[in-house]
């Protein structure tokens, strides 16, 4: 019996998210007295696969099959479910990201398992199996029991600390034997975001709202973002107006993020905006309106003109860095 954790790779590399997930899998496996198997699909070097052992993966199933590059939801789900059955998995963990969300529901049906998505941290108990997640778009928490014998979870990034827990890891080449007919998605074009910090990975996020007045005013924010190694975000009207790309839209109907630090400039803090950012550890607001609701959600704030504050912040960060 095992906990199966599906660790995606990005051009052959794992990310902090992957290690968080293996750490979580390992904590759950301990609670249940079972082992951890990681499943990797794609071309990942052996050393990289073995790095999962540092966080508690006893075994790594290594699937190398180019057909999966199309990320066909049906075929991927099939592969994950087959690996789960082979490993006698009682818990299957996927990321609460685009790929995880796409395949977890399918996997759950295949395995006759209950699904909870966006789980934060370890289960409250494993018998009965009770997990915690945010509901009503970050406005509340819920404790949910999964009644089936097998459980599928998608894990909310940044909700569990990486824990080192070195174990011996065996890498096993595995072929789930998915028929050609299962692959029906044909990729016509791929656009990868390069040279930028991905919003989903960013520890610090710099965000601008309608108060920034226009796309021509983003220079200061970008400079600040670059200095901090931050990802860039924006409110919905900003992306709707086309000032910034849709990829940067955060909130209830955009991306949900949980960085360590979220810096909001000229954002009023509408409830739908906060729905996507309130899991941030620290929120900073700069807004000229002292009544703006963003200050109720913020930990630190400046009532003032963003256009005056941003250059000062840039200077202060530069000073801090040289100090």
């Amino acid at each position: 019996m095992s906990v199966l954790v599906y660790t995606e790779n990005w051009d052959g590399k794992f990310k902090k998210l992957s290690y968080e997930m293996v750490s979580l899998a390992s904590a759950i496996a301990k609670q249940m007295g079972i082992t951890v198997t990681a499943l990797s699909i794609g071309h990942v070097a052996d050393d990289e696969l073995k790095s999962l052992g540092k966080y508690g993966a006893n075994k790594v199933l290594n699937v190398q099959d180019n057909r999966f590059e199309s990320l066909d939801n049906k075929a991927l789900a099939d592969a994950v479910a087959k690996a789960a059955s082979k490993e006698g998995a009682k818990v299957i963990i996927l990321a609460h990201n685009n790929e995880g969300k796409a395949i977890a529901p399918r996997v759950s049906v295949k395995l006759n398992a209950g699904l909870v998505s966006g789980v934060i941290g370890t289960p409250l108990s494993v018998n009965p199996f009770v997990v915690r997640k945010k509901v009503f778009t970050q406005k509340a928490f819920a404790n949910i029991q999964i009644k089936s014998d097998i459980r599928v979870l998608t894990f909310a990034q940044n909700s569990f600390e990486i824990v080192e827990n070195n174990v011996d890891t065996a890498v096993e080449v595995y072929d789930p034997q998915i028929a050609d007919g299962e692959f029906n998605t044909k990729v016509l074009d791929t656009h990868k975001i390069t040279g930028k910090v991905l919003l989903s990975d960013a520890e610090i996020v710099v965000s601008g709202g309608r108060g920034m007045k226009g796309p021509e005013n983003w220079g200061g924010l970008e400079e600040l973002g670059e200095l901090l190694g931050a990802g860039m975000a924006c409110s919905r009207p900003v992306s709707d107006e086309g000032w910034r790309s849709h990829e940067e839209h955060v909130g209830q109907t955009g991306k949900m993020i949980a960085p360590n630090l979220y810096l909001a400039f000229g954002i009023s803090g509408a409830i739908q905006h906060l729905g996507g950012v309130s899991s941030s550890k620290v929120i900073v607001a700069v807004n000229k309106d002292p009544e703006a609701p963003i200050f109720e959600a913020a930990d630190y704030g400046i009532v003032g003109d963003a256009f005056k504050v941003i250059p000062q912040l840039i200077e202060a960060v530069k000073e801090m860095k040289t100090a």
């Binding site: 789900a77 509901v135 778009t137 029906n184 989903s200 109907t253 913020a298």
Partner: protein
């Protein structure tokens, strides 16, 4: 081609969330119900595609009790041609998907929202596709149809892609599929009253999960304010006190 748009009935996004009965259930008192924002965008795109000649009629479906009918009527007022309501309390994603599997057969394109804004389950669309044994594409941010062939835009982690995928298919949609949701016009509201809203009985299906209880987050400590001309102090606080820089 036939299109089905799944509609979830959710509290208005500005609703103050409260719980009753020892925090075991959501307090629906005074709640305004709306079409789940992503479903509303899905319906908007379905309308645009219908106007471009890709579909003749648009069907919407929901699993819910009587209270969801005003939301379905709204979908009809926006422009859907017929509505189906499976008369049951939606217990969990698997239960709902099992109900929808009975009504979704025979459609070429099924649009589901990426999640519902109440329980954020993100499960129904994918489960439905698996129950029907058909393809699904998630995180869909664009859909074009030409001569019956689908061109689907989706987000992947770290980028985006354009795909072709055969029908029947469940597309699990998000922002971008449409930008501004359509709102019903007076004429649409009048016409909606005459459009068919078929209520059908649920099938046996088990739920696999159960909500044990809810909690509101602890109130946040007051925001620490820094003067406008003292951004340096803010950086010091973030560095030394909050330790996030």
């Amino acid at each position: 081609m036939k299109i089905l748009v799944l509609i979830s009935n959710v509290p208005d996004t500005t609703t103050k969330i409260r719980f009753t009965g020892d925090n075991k259930s959501f307090d629906t008192n005074g709640v305004q119900w709306i079409i789940n924002p992503w479903d509303e965008l899905a319906l908007t795109r379905a309308m645009e595609l219908k106007e471009a000649g890709a579909f003749e009629t648009i069907t919407v479906a929901n699993v819910g009790t009587q209270i969801t009918e005003s939301t379905l009527r709204k979908a009809l007022a926006v422009g859907a041609d017929e509505a189906i309501r499976v008369d049951a309390v939606p217990q969990d994603a698997f239960f709902v998907a099992s109900q929808l599997a009975k009504v979704a057969e025979g459609y070429d394109v099924i649009l589901a929202g990426i999640e519902a804004s109440d329980y954020n389950g993100a499960g129904v669309g994918g489960m439905l596709a698996e129950l029907l044994g058909i393809n699904s594409v998630s995180a869909v941010s664009g859909l074009e149809i030409e001569n019956g062939a689908l061109k689907v835009h989706r987000d992947i982690d770290g980028g985006s892609q354009v795909l072709s995928v055969p029908t029947p298919v469940v597309l699990i949609v998000q922002k971008g599929i449409a930008i501004e949701p359509r709102i019903p016009a007076m004429r649409g509201i009048m016409m909606a009253r005459k459009k068919p809203l078929n209520v059908i009985a649920p099938v046996d299906a088990e739920s696999k999960t159960e909500f044990l209880g809810f909690e509101l987050p602890a109130p946040k400590a007051a925001c620490k304010m820094v003067e406008e001309d003292n951004a340096k102090e803010l950086i010091r606080l973030l560095h030394e006190e909050a330790k996030v820089l």
